[in-house]
Symmetry: C2
Subunit: 275 residues, 2 copies
């Protein structure tokens, strides 16, 4: 036993202290592949991801490969994703696989094994979608807790259609999104910070995040609208806020040095605004 | 122009008329792999899926490979899934990739390209999860419509945790699940039946499905509890109900003839109860 925070909490705190809280997305979106002079296929996606790994996975605390942009090329794309995840982990970044998976029972356990097990997609954390109820994600929460890794559950997203589900009124007059927050808080009572949330940095989220004791991944920094200064307003307690940006950094590629400079500049802006 | 129903509607009607409405899941769940004498890896999953294809994909109208059970083995598992999907399509079944994907914008378009494009995961339909709002799924609905294929959007599932989200009260006093149904109905106004729903066969779903003009995939037949006779009660208008079973058929494997017999027996029970 030790007084140090255990599990994913330790990993998060160490990454934030040594590298800062910025998360940079790895999105081999076809127009970006074209802009980088890469082919719209698994070879191009692998190259794109490996350039990202070389540019900033040894610099920033967090990287977030977007699974859809690899999956679009079939199994070959998923093999590219394996390479990219491994390269980013080797470079020391916390890798959040942005997969938004969600299912029930043994099927959910299959997804947990895929992303939180020790197989080829092994990441430090995975994003999950709770349409089947937060409770349905339990196999992944348990797998993450046991492995000292994390999950990030969608709570409140910034896209306009999100409110139709996330702001619906659920049990005890709470919104669906607040229900997710409250369930995550309960799962984090052990201090391991296993359950993070995804809360869009551009939404007036209206959530009570107090006492969450877990990280908040906040996409929307940069191209989608929020500035580093906005973050402090959107998240009054920034202890474990992980702002995520993609296109604002990626658009300056494909030169490694240019990408690294953009990532470091954004990281420093975030640190100045939140610390 | 023709009077025939176009798009996915034509494919659905033809499959149901010639082969019946049963959907059989292809779930290489580790305990089933063990029971079939197969290895807990991508080789085992490929073998499992190809046995299923040989046994019943030329007999029943619909098959539903569960993506999680392939994804758990990484890219090699996804390559197995490519083989299984191709084998099932060659055998003439309508292939519903049970992926429960859901994201926004260009990311959602990536998933649509993966499952509804002409790449190696090409299926006839894919299941989608609407936590980000039904409207966020639009790139997939459009892709399916243009290709004459379909999507099945989660509406009301039978797991106990599902109600916390799906029965929350959304806009105009409707439940979240009913909001999904109503949006699907609007998208199906063109008669192409592009948007199906997933509604658990074991839930008292409480939904008004009238005028949907699209298919309802109803997991829960067999091992999860509903009998063919229950289906007629749960879905008073069975025109496009596609009951899905997995373990009830799969547990009799791995002999092709035994699997086929179990699939045909279940198919005939369903037809007798619903027609």
């Amino acid at each position: 036993m030790t007084d140090e925070p255990a599990g994913f909490a330790a990993r998060l705190r160490e990454a934030i202290a040594s590298r800062g809280r910025l998360c940079v997305g790895i999105d081999p979106h076809p127009p970006l592949l074209a802009a980088w002079g890469l082919t719209d296929d698994a070879v191009g996606a692998a190259r794109f991801g490996l350039v990202c790994a070389a540019a900033f996975a040894s610099e920033v605390g967090f990287v977030k490969p977007q699974v859809a942009f690899f999956e679009q090329y079939g199994a070959a794309g998923m093999e590219a994703l394996e390479e990219v995840i491994a390269a980013c982990r080797s470079a020391g970044a916390v890798v959040i696989a942005d997969a938004k998976r969600g299912d029930i029972g043994s099927t959910m356990a299959g997804y947990a094994r895929a992303w939180l097990g020790d197989g080829p997609f092994r990441a430090d954390a995975v994003t999950l979608s709770p349409y089947l109820g937060y409770g349905s994600l339990e196999p992944a929460v348990t797998a993450a807790r046991e492995a000292g890794r994390g999950v990030f559950v969608l709570a409140r997203t910034s896209n306009p259609e999100g409110a139709t589900v996330q702001e619906a009124q659920g049990e005890r007059g709470r919104s669906v999104a607040q229900g997710v927050v409250d369930a995550a808080r309960a799962d984090n009572a052990d201090g391991r910070a296993t359950v993070g949330l995804v809360v869009g940095a551009t939404a007036r989220h209206g959530l009570d995040l107090s006492g969450l004791r877990g990280p908040v991944l906040a996409p929307g920094l940069g191209a989608q609208g929020a500035t580093p200064a906005d973050l402090a307003r959107i998240f009054p307690d920034p202890a474990l806020v992980i702002p995520s940006t993609s296109r604002q950094v990626l658009r300056v590629g494909p030169t490694v040095r240019t990408l690294r400079d953009a990532a470091l500049r954004t990281r420093d802006e975030v640190e100045a605004a939140l610390d």
